[in-house]
Symmetry: C2
């Protein structure tokens, strides 16, 4: 069992999905400390297996060791973060409206609402984060935290890591008391499509490309019973540098930019793909910086092929100038830097703002700062949009407002690569950043994707779920008549 | 302008949608008391226009006057309820994570999350609630509360009421300071499809039939940029009566049932379409009760035709016995009562649990109470499911648990018709009760359908939205580092 896992047979997928469905009620019924213990056990097991997992990740993803170790740490932090969240209990949104004979629209009964797990979730991991957005990544952690069984469709970019990660998680969950079937890994592209269409699947989490994600979104929507499809797809993450910011700290900004767009060989969904700067900005140091960066391997041939094609398309355009021509060598790709003008961008935003997944970015020169608003106003949905500015910049308020209409995260004087797992983080955005504009794949509220509300009307206290009983035996934050209890 | 409004021309719809999009930023930027004032102004205007609106509703919907008056009261209560919610501000979900150099996965920046309006919302009202689920109903109220412009596609069952209601709302909003374009009514089935596909539309709210809703859901999902489609479709709202409950208060339960399924001529999405009772239950008084009910007009010919066809299908089945044969007369339809057995139901749940919208319901006799769990476990998604039981019933905990997996609202010893507008109410459920299992069309959380999160990273205080500034100038409830401020 050290080779590449074979595709999962259709009958086996059926067994896995039936097992997940059978596990759902028991997993949903686990009390908060029990479910939190599952997540912590998985985190501990993954930490313990680091010396096995990290070499596999390096081998299959070509990512450097420090990155792989750091990412594993992020992944186990995330599992523990969700464990804390489960114990805290606010995510259940427990809300109690007592019967009220004087309610304004007529007497109301006792109504109590809380969130309950959706049921089995199919998770499609990404190749570029083999730990944090894959088998035991954010979708898996948040779905398990919500109380949903998880069936991971292994990413073909790291099948052996996926299998080994899956074994570690499954063993830890079983040991910690999870019902059989609560977690499984399956293999194969057709298996993935079948999982999206499987009657037992109640939701899908996906991180990947626009074409791949859209195809699965369409499948999920085509079902006799459509299910939620949470796809985090593509983004060019534009960065707007005001004239004043460039004057005040241009060198620092350009250095930060080069570091951000080449980080992880540019294989971040939050890579800044476009940087807008005043025409007179001195790009000399930036060009030298980019030229001096060492090559880095791309994740796999498919990613490399897609990157090369996208870079060729951009480079061949008459309105694009190649400032630094990156190339593939024995040690991977050196980064590329391209340049165009704001007028060209506005003339063909579709062509120039296509995501080019890999180590390349496009500098856009502008003359009139106020026209940054035209660019911002015409953006497709973005995971992030960034302004490097000065507080006194006249354009800043309108620019931030326009960007908040099109992006899920708006940054000031920072870089979008690096998405912290926190309570308030939002990693999503209007389509195509996400197929589900209301939801995030990172941060505390990611659990909400896998929960649905149920209202209990006039149900006697002993028959209510614990979260809604008068005595609040779980000790969770609740609303009573719309106010904190 | 007193005739039936003509279908809206395509160019006019374009103008309306562009106007809505143009209004969106200004509407989103209104401070909470200003936006609340819009909703209250609309409520006041509708109340003032009652003597005009109620007769129109009676004429176009055939619903009796007390019902129309009561429903208008519910509608204006709902607008004011959302106004209070806007002022209270908790719906913004403001959440502040301060920068933390010691955060477990590595230093985190300052990240602040809140919800912002999606943009223009297309609303499709229902025929059976010409006020509360139509032009100025729950979808409109919650979308405006969220800060989204609304374009209502008038229901063809009450086009003149829709126009007059729309005029009242538009006038009130304009008077109260809403931007032009914040609210409009359009007409025609093709216009509705175009509105779902229009590039400016950011979400759709719909209440109606499964085929109609599914067709529009498919359109929304087929867009180059799919948008959320919140459709509240169909439900049979099963009611389970335990042996002990029937023994303790059978007469009362059967009387309540007859009242509930004939209310509004059975034209409620929450009508109890199925009642499961012990085989030895005495149905004599129920039959007499139903036979004695007066006829009531159905909403329109389309509803009547659909009802007659559905009733014929059920009545013609060899496994269904007609206890009371309703019929159409000059004053409308008298109610029908049908009967079958639990084994028949389990043999063909699709056929016997089809929604039959109108004054008819199906009594299902059971022998073995524990088999109620088989029925509950096999249900499609439901808006409601009800148990009439005694607290000591052995079957009760498992039955409530099973029903909560398939229904959005679970009732005990009550009737599902009548959905109060409260903080904790949930009116939705797994498909086909709703196309969006996570959301509700009634109650405080209905606003969430029209909001999306934005995270602001390291944005200076003066450039942040007011809701996220350090001083909390709006005075709203917020989380700071995951805890209430």
């Amino acid at each position: 069992m050290t080779g590449i896992p074979a595709d999962t047979a259709e009958e086996e997928l059926d067994r896995v999905m039936e097992g997940a469905a059978a596990a759902a009620p028991a997993l949903a019924a686990m009390r908060p400390p029990e479910r939190a213990a599952l997540l912590r056990a998985a985190a501990d097991e993954l930490d313990s297996a680091a010396e096995e997992l990290v070499p596999l990740a390096i081998e299959e993803s070509s990512l450097p060791e420090p990155r792989c170790r750091g990412e594993l740490g992020r992944t186990t932090f995330q599992l523990r973060f969700f464990a804390d969240l489960v114990e805290q209990g606010g995510y259940l949104e427990a809300s109690i409206d007592r019967a009220d004979g004087k309610w304004g629209m007529g007497p109301r009964p006792d109504v109590r609402r809380m969130l309950v797990p959706l049921g089995p979730v199919a998770v499609f991991g990404a190749s570029n984060f083999p730990f944090a957005f894959s088998t035991a990544g954010g979708d898996t952690a948040s779905a398990l935290a919500a109380g949903c069984p998880v069936v991971v469709k292994a990413h073909p970019g790291h099948p052996r890591l996926a299998r080994r990660t899956g074994e570690a998680v499954a063993a830890a969950l079983a040991e910690a008391g999870a019902p059989a079937g609560a977690f499984a890994v399956v293999y194969g592209e057709e298996t993935g499509r079948r999982a999206v269409l499987h009657p037992r699947t109640r939701a899908v989490g996906f991180t990947g490309s626009i074409p791949g994600g859209r195809a699965l979104f369409d499948l999920a929507s085509s079902r006799p019973d459509p299910i939620p499809f949470y796809g985090e797809l593509g983004s060019v993450n534009p960065v707007f540098v005001t004239r004043a910011a460039m004057a005040a700290r241009g060198a620092e900004i350009l250095e930060g930019y080069a570091g951000s767009f080449t980080q992880g060989a540019g294989q971040f969904c939050t890579k800044p793909g476009v940087l807008l700067v005043p025409r007179d900005a001195d790009l000399g140091p930036l060009v030298a910086d980019v030229e001096g960066r060492t090559p880095a391997r791309l994740l796999n041939d498919r990613v490399a092929g897609g990157f090369a094609a996208g870079l060729d398309r951009l480079s061949a355009r008459p309105d694009v100038e190649v400032l630094v021509q990156g190339a593939a060598g024995a040690d991977g790709w050196t980064p590329s830097l391209l340049r165009t003008d704001l007028d060209a961008l506005l003339a063909d935003p579709e062509g120039l703002l296509e995501e080019c997944f890999g180590p390349a970015s496009l500098v856009v020169r502008y003359d009139d700062e106020s026209r940054l608003l035209d660019v911002a106003g015409g953006l497709h949905g973005q995971l992030t949009a960034t302004v490097h500015g000065e507080e006194a910049d006249e354009v800043a308020p309108a620019l931030l407002a326009a960007l908040s209409e099109h992006a899920g995260r708006v940054l000031w004087n920072g870089w979008p690569t690096g998405v912290s797992v926190t309570h308030a983080m939002h990693h999503g955005g209007p389509y195509p950043a996400s197929t589900s504009v209301l939801h995030t794949s990172v941060g505390a509220t990611a659990v909400r994707r896998f929960l649905r509300p149920v209202a209990y009307q006039s149900v006697p206290d002993p028959l209510l779920p614990e979260a809604l009983r008068d005595a609040n035996p779980l000790g969770i934050p609740r609303l009573v008549d719309g106010e904190p209890e």
